[in-house]
Structures are given as C-alpha cells and as structure tokens.
C-alpha cells in the first residue's frame, strides 16, 4: 500500500480554552486540528468536554497567538519584585484596628 505521495493535510492547529462553569476563567486545555472555526469548535467540544467539563469554548488559531519568550522573563517580570508596597500586607496598623 502506498502512503503519502503528497504531503498529507492534517489542517491547522487551534488552541482550545474551556470555561468550566459560569463565572470561571477560560482555561487552556489543549489543541485541535481543524480546517475552519466551525469544525474547530465541534472538535474541541468532542475532545475536551465529553463529561460536561465545559459550558463555553474559545478556539483560536495557534499561529495568531503572541507569546513571550522564556528568555525575556527576567526583563519582563523582575521589575515587579521590589514593589512590595503593591501588596496589602505591606501596610501594618496598630493592634485593635480591623480592616
């Protein structure tokens, strides 16, 4: 039997985000391959919510997602480290005061 005379189409990759219950954040749960957005939602439904894990789904083309690089982590996130005054615990009050 001959295989793959022509490069096989597996369609493009879509990232899938599922909201598990009302009010919850959408959480990334994996990816699907699909030719268009309708089929991407259908596949995401079949693949990631077979046991009522979701009430709403987002799909978006993986190629359209912009992500930071791990090498940028220090320059992006370190500046937050010395700004302890942004946390409520920074502020101490005399005993007996309830906030």
């Amino acid at each position: 039997m001959e295989t793959n005379q022509k490069k096989d189409s597996q369609w493009k990759v879509w990232e899938v985000f599922v909201q598990s219950k009302t009010g919850a954040s959408f959480t990334h749960c994996g990816s699907v391959h699909a030719p268009d957005k309708e089929m991407a939602t259908q596949y995401a439904r079949d693949l990631y919510t077979r046991r009522s894990e979701g009430r709403s789904i987002w799909v978006l083309p993986a190629e359209d997602i912009v992500a930071t690089q791990p090498t940028e982590a220090a320059s992006l996130f370190d500046p937050a480290d010395d700004k302890i005054y942004r946390h409520p615990q920074f502020y101490k009050f005399p005993k007996g005061i309830h906030m």
Binding site: M1, T3, N4, K7, D8, S9, Q10, W11, V13, E15, H28, C29, G30, S31, V32, H33, P35, D36, M39, D46, L47, R50, R51, A62, E63, I65, A67, Q69, P70
Partner: protein
C-alpha cells in the same frame, strides 16, 4: 502557547547543568524553554509511541461493538473507545509542542519507524476479552500513567492528568464486566477465565523489559520523564490486581505465583521475553492487521480532509 518552531541550539554544558538543576527542583519544562536535544528526542519518541498506542488500541475493542450483548454494554464500549481516540489526540497535540507535527508522526508509524504498545497485537477472541482489556490492560496503563502525570514535561503531564481522570471509568467497566461473567453460567465463567489466561502475561509485558535490560529507562529517569522503573511499576500492578482476581474467583495463570510475607509482595514466574520481543519485532498475532487497518482508514479519509480544507478556503474568499 504550546506550539513552537524547532530550535537548533547547540548543546551547551552550562545550559544543560541549569536544566538538570531545574529538573531536580521538580520544575516542569515548557515547550519554548531550552532543553537538551536528547530530552526532546526521548520525549518525542516516547510520547508519539504513547499516542499511537491509544489509537491502535481502539481496534481490538472495536472488534466487539456490533456483538455487545446488551445496549448498555454497547454504549459503554463505544464511549470507552471514543475516549481512547481522544487520548491519542491529546498526546499527538502534546507531542507537536516539541516541534514534530502530527502528519510526520503518523508517517513514522506507517513506515514502521515508530512503535506502539505490543499488547494491542493480540486478538480479542471472546466477549470477556473486553472485560479483561478494561480491567488488566487499562489497569496496567493507569499505574504507568499515574506516574507519568508527574513527568517533567509540562504538556505531557497535563495530558496525563486528563487521561488518568478518564481511565478510572475504563478500568471499572472492565472489572464490572468480569464480575458479570463470573456470576453467570459455567460457560460464561470459562470465557472469563480464558480471557484472563490470555491477557495476564501481555498486561505484565506492557511495563517493558526488566530494568537491567532497559537502556531507555536510565535516561528517561535521569530526565525525570519517568519517575519509577519498569519493574517497580509492574510490581505495583501485580500487587493490586491479584486480590481483585481472587475475590471474583479468577485464577492467575501462573503456577509459581506466591505471596512473600516478608516483602509484602507477590512473586511471579518470569515473563516469556522471547514472546515479548517477537511481538515487538512484528511477529505478534495481529501486527499486520492493525497496521493495515490504520493505513487504510487514513488513506480512505484523505478525500474528506481535502474536501473540508477546500470548503474552508472557499468560504474565506467569499
């Protein structure tokens, strides 16, 4: 996001040392982070083999869908097989984050360059085989996958967590089927015992060769891809499964089986490794059929994939 372009970073001892420190601290490695080429290679090999196993594993069970003895057993079996297809897709998706796409992985399977679990090369000869597969084969898979949920590669670990949640159903429906058979007629009990006799040893082989003969295990454990050895995992499976067999009246097909009171573990005869390597080398009872079916389904579905693609691009233009 969990997609990435293949990076060709030359091996660097400083980066490698920092990477090993991260592993020792129990950190998870994410797709775009630096990793040794060998880590990427071992993971791609192991995860794609795992994905192929899920998908090929649908065949022996699908053999009984049309002959399930009741509508309930039929919908259970269909749901179970659909889950296995889903497991394959989770795992292909996670493997792709390492830089090899799904079409290439499937090509490797079809060309015989990638393996799948040898257990799926055995035939399902009677209805009780469906019970034995869920109980023993999925039971062995759970032991392995519970360990893999703690693996060092983030996307693999997350796929495993999702899979483990679904495996409980697979395992229990199988054992439930075996109980039903053992409560049935003498003929049904014999069918259950026959299935037990044929699936016990292949299930033990699923954990792979003894530690001393498994070169991959050492490297996989060094990279914390695997956290426990083949023999340790196999022993866990043996210890938890034997009491389950005994309580429903099934006999383990091993005349040398005994419980060692000092160690608290069961001891079994040694596995027939000639059989194991024969099946891996393609000489199992169903290897040819399994591959033939997979290739055929893939080729016959080609026009559907192309038509859907054509439809999608036409609608984009409108």
């Amino acid at each position: 996001m969990e997609t990435l372009e293949k990076k060709s970073v030359a091996e660097d001892p400083i980066l490698e040392e920092a990477f090993m420190t991260r592993l020792l601290n129990g950190e998870k490695i994410e797709p775009k982070e630096w990793m040794p080429e060998n880590y990427r290679k071992q993971l791609t090999r192991m995860m794609s083999q795992h994905a192929h196993s899920e998908v090929i594993g649908m065949q022996p069970e699908a053999n009984w869908i049309t002959r399930a003895p009741s509508l309930l057993r039929k919908v259970i079996l269909l749901a179970k097989i659909q889950d296995e297809g889903g497991h394959g897709l989770y795992l292909y998706g996670s493997t792709e984050t390492l830089g090899t796409d799904r079409s290439e992985l499937i090509e490797q399977l079809h060309e015989g360059k990638a393996k799948y679990s040898s257990v799926f090369n055995y035939p399902t000869l009677n209805w009780a085989d469906i019970g034995a597969i869920g109980w023993l084969v999925d039971g062995a898979a759970i032991v392995n996958q519970t360990m893999l949920a703690k693996t060092s590669y983030g996307p693999y670990s997350r796929a495993m967590l999702r899979i483990c949640k679904e495996e409980g159903f697979h395992n229990r429906q199988g054992y439930d089927l075996m109980i039903a058979m053992m409560r049935g007629t003498k003929e049904q009990q014999e069918m259950a015992q026959d299935a037990m006799n044929r699936w016990w040893w292949p299930a033990l082989m699923m954990f792979g060769p003894h530690d001393k003969n498994s070169s991959n295990t050492i490297e996989l454990m060094k990279y914390r891809i695997k956290l426990e050895s083949n023999d340790d995992l196999r022993q866990q499976f043996i210890d938890r499964t034997i009491p389950q067999a005994e309580i429903i009246g099934l006999t383990i097909p091993d005349p040398n089986l005994k419980f060692n009171k000092e160690t608290g573990h069961y001891e079994t005869s040694d596995i027939n490794w000639d059989e194991f390597f024969n099946v891996i080398r393609g000489k199992g009872p169903c290897n040819k059929q399994r591959m033939h079916n997979h290739i055929q389904a893939h080729e016959e579905g080609k026009w559907v994939r192309e038509a859907a693609e054509a439809y999608a691009s036409k609608h984009k233009q409108l």
